[in-house]
C-alpha cells in the first residue's frame, strides 16, 4: 500500500514538475521545477531498489548539473530574455507529434498486453528484489568487473567534455 502511495506521489510530482519545466517563462523557475522532477525521479529510483543510483541522481544531477544550469542562467542576463516570446510557432506541430508518439507507444503496450503471442516481450522473467541487495557493493563489482572498458571510456568522455567546455567558455585559452 505504502509503495503505491509513494509511487503515485513521486510519479505525479515528476510529471507535474516536468510540465512546469517546459511551460514556465522564467528560466530560474524552470530550473527549480527540473530539480523537483529530478528529486522525484530519485525517489522512484529508491523505490526500484537502486539506492546507489538514488544518491548519484541527487549528487550528480541535482547537486552538480543543476548548479551548472543555474549558474549559466544567472550568467546570461535573463531579465532581458524574459520579455521575449518564449514559445515558437512549432507548438502545434510539436503537440501533434508528441501525441502521435505517445499514442503509438501506448498502443504498442496495449497490443502487447492483449496479444498472448506478443506478450512474451513483457513477460521477461522477473527477478527478486533481494538480488539487488547490497546495492553499492553490487554496483561497484559489476561496474568495475563487467563494465571496465565503458568506465575507462567514460573518463575520456569527461576529459573531452572538460577541455571542450573550458575552451568554449573561456575567451582566451
Amino acid at each position: 500500500m505504502i509503495d503505491k502511495v509513494l509511487f503515485y506521489f513521486f510519479a505525479g510530482l515528476a510529471v507535474v514538475s516536468a510540465i512546469l519545466v517546459v511551460t514556465r517563462r522564467n528560466a530560474v523557475h524552470s530550473a527549480i521545477f527540473l530539480i523537483t522532477a529530478l528529486l522525484a525521479t530519485a525517489g522512484i529510483f529508491l523505490q526500484l531498489r537502486a539506492e546507489f543510483l538514488f544518491i548519484v541522481q541527487i549528487i550528480l544531477y541535482v547537486g552538480g548539473i543543476m548548479v551548472l544550469f543555474i549558474f549559466v542562467i544567472m550568467l546570461v542576463n535573463l531579465d532581458v530574455a524574459l520579455h521575449q516570446v518564449q514559445f515558437n510557432r512549432q507548438t502545434w506541430v510539436a503537440g501533434i507529434l508528441a501525441l502521435a508518439l505517445g499514442a503509438q507507444v501506448a498502443l504498442a503496450f496495449r497490443l502487447v498486453q492483449k496479444n498472448p503471442q506478443g506478450s512474451e516481450i513483457l513477460r521477461l522473467p522477473r527477478g527478486s528484489a533481494a538480488q539487488l541487495a547490497p546495492n553499492t557493493e553490487l554496483v561497484g563489482r559489476t561496474l568495475f568487473q563487467n563494465y571496465m572498458l565503458p568506465f575507462e571510456i567514460a573518463s575520456i568522455l569527461l576529459l573531452v567534455a572538460m577541455i571542450g567546455a573550458v575552451v568554449m567558455a573561456k575567451r582566451k585559452v
Partner: protein, 380 residues
Amino acid sequence: MAEIPTANFPNVETTVLGADEIILNMGPQHPATHGVLRVKLKLDGEKVVGSECIIGYLHRGVEKIAEHRSYQQFAPYVDRMDYVAAVSNGLGYCEAVEKLMGVEAPPRARVIRTILTELQRIASHLLWLGTHALDIGALTPLFYCLREREEILKIFEKYCGARLTTHAFRIGGLQYEAYDELEKDVERFCKDFEQKVNEYEQLLTENRIWVGRTKGIGVISAQDAIDMGATGPIIRASGVKWDIRKAFPYAAYDQYQWEVPTGKNGDTFDRYLVRMEEMRQSRRICLQAIENIPTGPIMARIGKVLKPPPGEVYHSIEAPKGELGYYIVSDGTTQPYRVRIRPPSFINLEAFDKMVRGHLVADVVAIIGTLDIVLGEVDR
C-alpha cells in the same frame, strides 16, 4: 572619472560576457568604508577597473565656522576633524596660531605636548591596526588594540578629563599642569607596550594569509606617492624617508633620538610594517621625553584676547595620518580671516584610485584600511 582607460592595465582581462561592466557601489553605509565614505567601483567580474570616491557626507564647514569664532573658540573644533587623533589636531592648530602671533610655548609645555601627541599617534595607529585587521577578516587584533588604546585614553582622561576630543592644549602652551603620575603612567604603558606590539606582529606579520592579503596590494611608487601628495606612512612605505618631525622639527622633537621607518615596495604590507615600527618609535620618544621634563611655566605670556598681527602663516605637523597643515590668514582682528586645513586623509584618499585599479573587490577594503582615513577629516 568619466572613462576608464583599461588600456593602461594590460593585466585586466575582460572576463564578463558582453561589454558592459557592473557598477558596484560601496558605502556610505557599508561595514568596510570606515564611516561614510562612498566608493563607486567599476567592476569587470570581480576586478576593479575604475573607482570614484564620493565624499562630503560628513561635511560640516569647519573652515567656515573658524571665520566666525575667535582663535581660542575655534580650538575645540579641530578636535572633531580627525576624532581618533584629536591631540595631534590641537597641537597643529595651537602651534600655527602661536607662529602667527610670534610667540612660543615654554619648554615644559612643549615636552608635555610631545608626550601626549606621541601617545595619540600610538592610539591612532592602534585603532588603525585593529580596524584594518578586522577588514581583512582577523577579528581578534581589534580587541587587543582597543585594550592598549584604552590605556592611552585613560592617560588623556587623567590629564584633561576627556578621552576622545580632548582639547588638551591651549594657544600659547597648556591649560593644565601635568598630573602627578603622568610620567609613571606613561612609563608603565610604554614598558608593557613593547611586548604588546611584538604580540600583534606575531599574530599578523608571519601569517601567510595576512601576507597574502597585503603583499603587492595597493602598490604606489615613490614617484606616484609624491605626485598624489600622499604623506605620512603612505609615502614612507613607498621609500621616501620624510617626516615633518625631522624636516621641520616642532614641539620638542629635536631633542630626542628616533628613526624614521621606511618601506620599499609601497604596498599594503609595507605600510603595515611602517606603522608598526612607528608605534615603537613613538614609544621610544615617549620614554625619552618622560625622563627629563623641564620645569617652569606651562603657558607663554599672551593676552586673554588674541589679536595676531595681519599676515598669514602655514604650519604643519606630522599627524598620525600624514601632514596636517594649518594655513591661517589674520586680518588683525580677534577672529581668523581664513583658516585652511590641509587634511592628510583627504589628500591620501586621492591616491585611492591609483592604488585600487586592477585589484579585486576584496582588496578594496584592504586598501581603504591601509589608507587610514577618518571621514571627519576628509569631509571636515
